[in-house]
Symmetry: D2
């Protein structure tokens, strides 16, 4: 059994980790921390977990994380980078669901996240936890930077085109739509029901933090740096990401075959039949990414449609997938949930 | 392994049965029928099931159900009563998720359902599949009448009061709210998104088919027939039932203790701490019924709050719970899903 | 032209007042205050008002409200009671959309609202602004206590029964459902989209502040004090209140005729044909209250269904209706909006 | 007073026309037809219109449309083209809200709409009713082809760029999102609440009927034919269109000034301040189109954000705007509704 701790368990990635881990056959939850809810039963805050978990939230200052084999950080950006070194030093592995270790260029990270990095020396060591790209490195890793929600859906959608070198990488467009849970469980006006329901808007068009992450990921698989226009939108649903990706085709290719071959061995990437339109609900509550590739009217524009559940493949599910790989378990263990439809 | 067939697998109770059964460790799905979608892959209609099930919908006229140990009817009312006799005769057990065998008084059934009953002789044999009341009978049954969604939430909420004989049973009130999936996957104007979203309404106030079913269930546990005012409402959410129940208290009682004791051994009924307000999302995708009991301002009115997922404990989950009981399996096998929150 | 000020214009009742008043033919908006947004253009905060209003939010400490003929308080409870005396003294009339002057029994008010009343002497003078009951008093009033959203829907629904003295007033039940905008535009976790969407729950079952207000209003029209069980619920829609009311009938009455006669001259109360089920969207964005009355299966329980838009007839629209009456204008002036459907 | 008829008044564009026209100061509604609901009171079908309109739906076969000055067709595609000639011949003007007269190339129309055109000779005469382009022609027109919902939002968003000739018109991208009311009030499974809520998907990626309409409209203002990739999506809200438009900039330009100047005199096109993100709810229930223009990170990609209410500026409101122009009325008469927010 893997002894697991969760730091910052009161947000949506925290409760989603709990939903998965309480039924994972190889995990024993040892500790879960929360500054604000310290002392409260986990199932008091999240009644969905009644009967599933007996833990209380511990004060982070008191919690003994060194008893764990693995600690998940489900904290705001900037927390994991303060505490990871100490844990690694005593042999505890770390998976950070926030952004602290995602960007290799520390200066770039500091620019986008508006703070100084506390552990730049760990950035180089951290493995970017996208199994479809880095499975072998994940297997050996002590420290995983779990990808962002948009970056997961966008990279999985673009990768076959980029790796094949068949599109104009200077003018990629990613038009992405996220459910509101992506904004987290913070009390803010713009994500109130009466603000976000029956409404649709873009945000962060001048620049969003997931842009450098996606550029880094795609750039690493491309022959040259990628130029990406990335426009995120907020859509009135709880969970789900839909990425609509546009790229100009430079070379005749059987796109359907390209995608099917790229992902044939991937347990969580599902290439739909030609002509399909994936729906976010087809992955709700599950770790799947479903992808369709189109070439409208046979022109030179490729349109890729990629859907995930932002809290599962976009966060907690992928983190558990990484854990499974790190510990040599079957990669799908504990994350085989059938999507909830309707 | 139990060889299972599903008749009528294209509705919401059908797809929910599939979600559960494809991962049930003791079930082998043999056949699933659909008149309209015959020949189509199940996962073509329901992309959430891609990779989970290889079956195609069979034409009901061709399907060999006699190879099954158990057949679920997830059909409109009036279908199971035509086919059940033949199946029972060849040793196949039946669980009907529709209403054909729920009402013991055949004339009453015919009045509310507007058709003649095709198998009145089976009505007496059928066991009403509410495990919290009929567990022993279910164990022996060949034919289960799986309860309606409202009747499950309302009966579980009222039963402790009724059985204890401490409320005025002449003037019970059940004000119930259902998500739109309760209306099924039929193309109708009033359940279109643009009709049902951002809207709230009652329906069936003059009389709803679940009224006689609830009256029968409560009456059987009461010292006299119950008088019930039942008002269902449609609420703009996909899944979930919230029953708000009102009864006049005739005798001082520790209500919290009464409820906790009544359900102490029930794996799927969760009595919340005093003062709680259950939310439908705390049971979303799960087989739980969560209940809270109140006595506002210490007056003589008891208010019971009872929530379920209409497609799970209100339909497919309860059907599988009944199957588990019938086959001597652990009652919770395959239906331990942690609710999906948020 | 009536010179109008709004104190506290950044909440939902504030923006709804603005939506109505910017097109009211007899109103000139002079000042709108906000502590937090002082200096910001009204249409910057509410882009729906671009091109409709040139005002900026003023600092409440600086704003000269004495230039107004009438001031609306769209503030949290406890603000209007601090400032009203000063305004009345200089001849400015006041309509308070909060609860400061709604409850005649000051001790009762202080108990439910948890603060000491700053102007108990004004409570007696204040007129409860439900035109269907107090039209003549409103005409003469300097100070209006605009009713709460639930109290409006519940009182209009119960009044014909209460006034006719034909129901058991000791055991009234009001099961009410509100859209999330009723909770206001405050950043709170429980009204986030990801918390409130696809979810249904009750709240305040042990006691809600609108209970004493409804009891007072109904009690004043009854031959004896009323006993009311009041259970509010949160439903995943933006606007709308649906009150489902239950009362035991003591005397044979033509209920449809009773309701139609009671409201025959009321411009904003619409009694639906017998057998109807009003929908909240049928009043969305409008000042109407639509009511249907049922007697299921001819029994002794009356069920009344009453719907309003909580921000219009339940708040800003009713406030403007009161203003129209106070100033001798046609009662419907500026509030004739056709409901937005779908 | 303009005597107005509506053919096909039971859909969403029909009820929206009614919402607007019943309060238009220069319109007298004479007749409204419906094959299916003939004889039913309009306010029976749409309770939002109770007290607003006394008309009943007439049988199209019996209705005397020749008494009208103007007839709106709010019918499915293919109806108006059958009846328009007869009306024009007796001096009745026609505004078709469907697609019958939108595409000048009849063969192209027949390809996309899958039927033979019944009045090809009228196609040339019909004026495409986008006032921001064709105001003068509309003034003289007998027959208006009212634009589609997507084409309105997309053309208004792209026009300043196209007319200025500063972008690569060979590779335009329009990623558009629509509320579900855009699919009409037809009973279909895919627009049921339980299918469309909490879900996001694209549709029609291989080719959507609004593509040739947009290409025609933009092409007419461009120096050469435009190449457009058009991807529509369904978003879980009732009303609203959000178009996110991408074009490669070929020439340095002050984009904000370009947009402001282009629309400075347009009463219904609102260019937001630089850096804005328009929300669909900021135009809900109104005839506005709000637009923002961005150039992320100062690169060569222009991103335009354009929002409308699909039923107002995207259908009924624009139709009334066209009527106002045709009859020399103030262009904003009867369509000055303040958007409903929240």
């Amino acid at each position: 059994m893997i002894k697991v701790g969760i730091v910052g368990g009161t947000g949506y990635t925290g409760v989603e980790l709990l939903r998965i881990l309480v039924q994972h056959p190889k995990v024993r939850l040892k500790v879960i921390t929360s500054r604000q809810e310290s002392g409260m039963g986990v199932d008091e805050l999240f009644p969905s977990l009644r009967g599933q978990v007996a833990l209380k939230f511990s004060d982070p200052a008191q919690a003994d994380l060194s008893q764990c084999d693995l600690v998940f950080f489900a904290t705001p950006n900037g927390v994991a980078m303060q505490q990871t070194k100490k844990l690694l030093d005593v042999g505890v592995k770390v998976i950070d669901l926030a952004a602290d270790f995602r960007i290799k260029d520390v200066a770039e990270w500091e620019k986008w996240y508006g703070m100084q990095h506390a552990s730049p020396e760990l950035v180089a060591e951290a493995v970017y936890g996208l199994p479809e790209v880095n499975r072998e490195k994940i297997r050996q890793a002590r420290l995983i930077a779990n990808p962002g929600c948009y970056p997961t859906a966008v990279q999985l959608g673009f990768l076959p085109l980029i790796e094949a070198g068949i599109v104009d990488v200077d003018h990629l467009v990613a038009d992405t739509k996220s459910g509101v849970s992506g904004a987290g469980r913070k009390a803010e006006v713009h994500t109130l029901f009466a603000e976000a329901a029956d409404n649709f808007k873009s945000y962060g068009v001048p620049g969003h933090r997931h842009l450098p992450e996606i550029r880094q990921g795609l750039g690493a698989r491309s022959q040259k740096p990628v130029g990406l226009t990335f426009v995120p939108h907020l859509t009135p649903m709880i969970r789900g990401i839909h990425a609509t990706l546009y790229a100009r085709l430079l070379k005749e290719t059987d796109l359907q075959a390209l995608y099917e071959e790229r992902y044939i061995d991937e347990p969580f990437v599902d290439v739909l039949p030609a002509g399909s339109h994936p729906q976010t609900r087809s992955v709700r509550g599950s770790n799947f990414c479903r992808i369709a590739v189109h070439r409208p009217q046979g022109g030179d524009m490729v349109v890729v449609l990629s859907v995930t559940d932002n809290l599962v493949k976009g966060a907690a599910g992928q983190a558990v997938q990484n854990m499974n790989i790190m510990y040599g378990l079957p990669e799908t263990m504990g994350i085989k949930h059938v999507p909830l439809l309707p």
